[in-house]
């Protein structure tokens, strides 16, 4: 890597994570600071993602920078067969920072190797989405007052959910305990369980989503169980309503419990949960702005 880029959560040390979270806290106190005055950020979205793009572009704007870019690769030269390398080198002539989302896995890593301009990975296929992990960590620390020694229950699609895999890595510095709640077809892969074993992280696997597990948890991290992930549709029909959180299930949960979800939600959190003060998923998305302001300043070596 030639410049300081933000490509994958695996590369972040505990110190990196804590520094970015501390800076995100400063941005929450004061989001509008002209630290990017005179700088241009490019947002290259080879795959559309409105939520992530708006969050990053808002972050640049609130820092006083300017944004160029595209939100759909079909209008760019990549639809004419231009290589990613050429697109990145071309944009590097104009921008001080490149924020990119790509449908191919490893695209951000490769981009960071061909240019001197810092790259922020805003998602590369099913591989990494490290700014999401950073905002998850920020939300956890903010609601719990700490990251250490927490019990985190992950529910839903634990097989394909990159957010839960990255969160395990991000939390691995802080002695967590995990409950993995998923249908058999979507259970946590061996790779992540081996990672937990290697790092001395305790975890328990469940197929039933019960109040007993919820009542032990500090964080309940819900994810979407998608129909298209199932090879056996009968299995989907059997489990589709099992991993739905209803307000009544929270009656005896801990006071400090907070419910997170990377969004968009479909039906895995019933709407009656929204009014429960333990529901945190909308504020969680708001925290994404502060986390992204902090990440942008971090790769540009700007003191916050």
């Amino acid at each position: 890597m030639r410049s300081k880029s933000f490509v994958s959560i695996q590369e972040c040390t505990k110190e990196d994570i804590l520094r970015i979270l501390d800076n995100a806290e400063k941005f929450e106190a004061n989001p509008n600071r002209r630290l990017l005055e005179g700088k241009v950020a490019a947002t290259l979205f080879f795959e559309p993602s409105t939520r992530t793009r708006l969050s990053f572009e808002t972050a640049v704007n609130r820092l006083g920078g300017r944004v160029i870019g595209f939100q759909d690769a079909s209008t760019t030269s990549s639809s004419k067969g231009e290589t990613l390398k050429d697109t990145i080198l071309m944009v590097s002539n104009y921008a001080d920072l490149i924020i990119m989302r790509h449908y191919l896995e490893g695209a951000a890593r490769y981009a960071s190797e061909v240019t001197d301009v810092p790259i922020i990975n805003a998602g590369d296929g099913a591989n990494q989405h490290p700014s999401q992990t950073m905002l998850d960590l920020y939300s956890i620390r903010k609601t719990q007052g700490k990251l250490e020694d927490l019990t985190i229950t992950m529910v839903g699609d634990l097989k394909y959910g990159r957010t839960v895999h990255s969160l395990i890595v991000g939390m691995s510095h802080f002695n967590p305990m995990f409950h993995f709640v998923a249908p058999n077809e979507l259970r946590m892969p061996d790779e992540q369980k081996n990672f937990c074993d290697e790092h001395g992280i305790r975890y328990y696997e469940h197929t039933a989503f019960t109040e007993e597990i919820i009542n032990q948890s500090d964080i309940l991290y819900m994810t979407r169980v998608q129909r298209e992930r199932f090879t056996d549709l009968e299995e989907y029909e059997r489990v589709k309503n099992v991993y739905i959180l209803k307000n009544s299930m929270l009656a005896h949960s801990k006071d400090n419990l907070r419910i997170l979800h990377p969004l968009p939600r479909v039906n895995e959190i019933a709407y009656d949960v929204d009014d429960n003060p333990k529901a945190y998923y909308i504020q969680q998305a708001h925290n994404g702005l502060f986390a992204r302001e902090a990440i942008i300043c971090d790769v540009l070596n700007i003191n916050v």
Binding site: T83, L84, L104, E105, A107, Y110, A126, Q128
Partner: protein, 155 residues
């Protein structure tokens, strides 16, 4: 000739100088030849396969005259045939026996199995980290997919 001093009959003609790659599993012989890019070597090459072997039943063997491989070239073989032995021959004598071992990184040798990996969609060399030399498990530097020995596809 000194190589014959132990009275063993040679199954393949001896070479004066060069490299003899021995104990190649018969099914991997041609992959080893490909990995070493022997099609580009102009020296005399003898390839033998299904020779009887006391150690492993049958084996393949490649003799290349006047050719000495560097460690980087040799390490490629470990991908398909981790137990081969390279005999370095000078003046009909084995002057060195080398075992192969995987390097820490494989560049441009292996294809990534993930069709959505950037390396399968851009004109660029692949890059893998060898994460388990014993079991021969590699991990794509770009898409981070792990590939087990049996699923490795040589480019």
């Amino acid at each position: 000739m000194s190589a014959l001093k132990n009275n063993k009959e040679l199954q393949v003609a001896a070479i004066e100088n060069g490299t003899v790659i021995d104990h190649i599993p018969p099914t991997e012989l041609f992959k080893v030849a490909t990995l070493l890019e022997l099609d580009k070597v102009e020296a005399t090459i003898t390839i033998a396969n299904n020779l009887p072997s006391r150690k492993c039943g049958r084996k393949g063997m490649i003799k290349i005259s006047d050719k000495f491989f560097n460690d980087d070239e040799i390490s490629r073989i470990a991908l398909v045939a981790p137990n081969v032995i390279l005999n370095i021959i000078r003046n009909y004598e084995v002057v060195e026996k080398k075992r192969v071992s995987l390097p820490d990184e494989l560049i441009g040798l292996v294809k990534c199995n993930n069709p959505k990996c950037i390396t399968n969609n851009e004109p660029m060399p692949t890059r893998f980290e060898v994460i388990d030399k014993e079991a021969c498990v590699i991990k794509c530097h770009y898409c981070e997919r792990k590939i087990n020995k049996d699923d490795i596809i040589i480019k």
